[in-house]
Amino acid sequence: MKAEPSLRLVGVSREGHACSIAAGLSVAGAKPLILIQNTGMMESGDSLRGWLLGLNIPVVLMVGYRGWTRHGVNQDTAATYTERFLMAFGINYYLVENDADAPRISIAFEEAERTNKPVVVLVGDEYHGFNR
């Protein structure tokens, strides 16, 4: 990402920081994208509320879905609470598990722009990168 000239990477040490930075970027005319994990998303609750929902920021959050499994018993509370958390905040989300789901990412971007709200893409294969 650092090598891609059309992107500017802003590293953060806590995921809530990404929310306020994205709000500033969007207000002043840039187009932010937030890349975090579900654990950090839950840590960011107040920033999501105040900076993204409160200021009507159209932004997509690509969220690594730690613990997600379709084929067994979930043993990670990060996964247990991820979708409950998003429902509590009224944030819409799309699950992406493989390359065939990629169009959902475009849908998330369109929805964020149309509704002036944050929209989440849950990446249900955060370690394999769809290359299993």
Binding site: R8, V10, G11, V12, S13, R14, G16, H17, A18, C19, S20, I21, A22, A23, G24, L25, S26, V27, A28, G29, A30, P32, D46, S47, R49, G50, W51, G54, L55, N56
Partner: protein, 194 residues
Amino acid sequence: MHTADMLKAFAPYREDAIVVPGRGGRYWTDLTTRPNLDVPVGDPAMGGHAGFALGLALARPEKRVILFDSEGDILMSLGMLVTIAEQQPANFYHFLIDNGCYATTGGQPVPNAENTNYDAIARGAGYPRAFAFRELEKFSAALPEIFGKPGPVFVAVKVAPEIEKAPIGRRRRWQTRTRDQVIKDLRKELGVNR
């Protein structure tokens, strides 16, 4: 030093900068001459003003962005200083209004308020320039130097606490615009079409 006096001293140096007044907003509203370049968004979520101002600065590198942060906010987001230092926004001027307490919730003391050197923390995080002031005269005298060089720069200013004890609903309503209107006005001023 009182916050209002500090902001009065700063006002002549504002020019056409974007100002995020943070918790100085209730004083800045009486001093500003470019309200449509002010971003008084209130307190969307504590600890986020520096990130918000950084976002503005990165999106508009040609425009100076001046933030009046608080020590309570900074303590909630110390890691943000490292992010700002890494980004090195030359247009970013980071002022800290340090009143040593949580003024809007009754004046509870900020931890270790009298012994924390925020300028040293900023310098340690990687800010190339950092200052600290307790006296209005010294602060005022340093402003040409502060604005005479590129950012990022950090300026910690110790001020007298002005504690709001009236119930929130009975406090003076200094904000005359909604958050949506503030953002709309700023975007219009910056030529951002949304």
